[in-house]
Symmetry: C2
Subunit: 246 residues, 2 copies
Amino acid sequence: MWTVKCGPVARHPNEKNAQVKQIVSTETGLLAIPLAILPVSAEVTRMTEEQFNDRSSLSAYLSSRRSGRPRNMVAPGPSDAQIEDIVAIAMRTPDHGKLAPWRIVSVAAGQRDQLAQGFRKAYLAAKPEAGRLELEGLDAMAHEAPALLVLLSSPVQSTKIPLWEQQLSCGAFAMNILHAAHALGFVGGWITGWPAYNEEVRNLFGSAPERIAGFLYLGTSNIELSERPRPELTDILSSWTPPIDQ
Amino acid sequence: MWTVKCGPVARHPNEKNAQVKQIVSTETGLLAIPLAILPVSAEVTRMTEEQFNDRSSLSAYLSSRRSGRPRNMVAPGPSDAQIEDIVAIAMRTPDHGKLAPWRIVSVAAGQRDQLAQGFRKAYLAAKPEAGRLELEGLDAMAHEAPALLVLLSSPVQSTKIPLWEQQLSCGAFAMNILHAAHALGFVGGWITGWPAYNEEVRNLFGSAPERIAGFLYLGTSNIELSERPRPELTDILSSWTPPIDQ
């Protein structure tokens, strides 16, 4: 889809695009300009959108993993049985002390209007002067994608396992929900936004000390996925330098 | 390896073992009794340890993912180039605002004695009366497995993205480090323990507001992996019940 010239050798076609896009983005303020206008050298990578979430092998998948945007998700979404499979697979998440400090509440397709009502009520309670656009945005959020899983961090308080580890495990569990959805051929997206931080919304699904860790939308993307910038490896990985006084 | 009788149909051989083991564990207080002594019915699953981390497909892998124990990890571990690959793959982690609020410090094989010294110094500063066994445990922790990656949560403070999301992203990143290591044929284990919560140890690798999110050990298991109990699906997944007042 894109033909790009690359400078330093990139680790993966996706990253190469990300690097180019990041440069383009920085220089122009635009993210989606046609990259084909760049000069083509011998070092060329052609990347098609179909390469995202490539399930031909575990490595290919992990190297091409990409979330989808809920507003672009259409049917088919996972069936109830597939949602059970997705959650069951994701339960294989590291979890110190075997506390399973996370859980999923699945919102059915027929309940989206009620969810929208719940969001709206909570929002108006917090912001009585809310404008039309804000309320429309909330309403859209309640209706997006064929499947919606509300992820709750459910820490166990009567344990020696620190809350910190229980929260990290929740993030790992969310990651595995997305992987499991992708394994079944769907695309997933992990979204937060205003409702994730409102107590009244949290009370629709759970109770303190539970906390919304995100809304996991699942479905089929009606547009081709596109790459987003990723960090530079050298910013993320470093070699340890022991202190000199040792 | 194990021959087990099962009751209700389980989703996956691993889970079946987990269910049986959980029952056995509850009833006997022992986790590792030979399951082959149980009577064998028509509904039998034979599970070999080799089924863990089955890389034949993405679904097979996710359904059989299992961490290893650092103390059982031996060579070969990942090379420096493979560690770069593992971290690069894991950088494809959901991360609201593209902050990359996590990083890895790799401790080389030749630096383990210095790491042990660092742990010991910090421990003795906090607990001057420390006993021999405690210090030996710390020393072992510093020396385990061929490869050791220190994972830091590195939140960005000058942003509208809540700390909560940055921490959850760190948990997701850790999950992907393990997946990436497994994709390359190694086994990974995510460990915390005393050093993960000590400021002096944190200062060996980073600085506030960074926080150690775990020690990620990578290598090859010198024993067969074994299943651990997993939660019941019905405890983790529920259908939403909207409030009646709507």
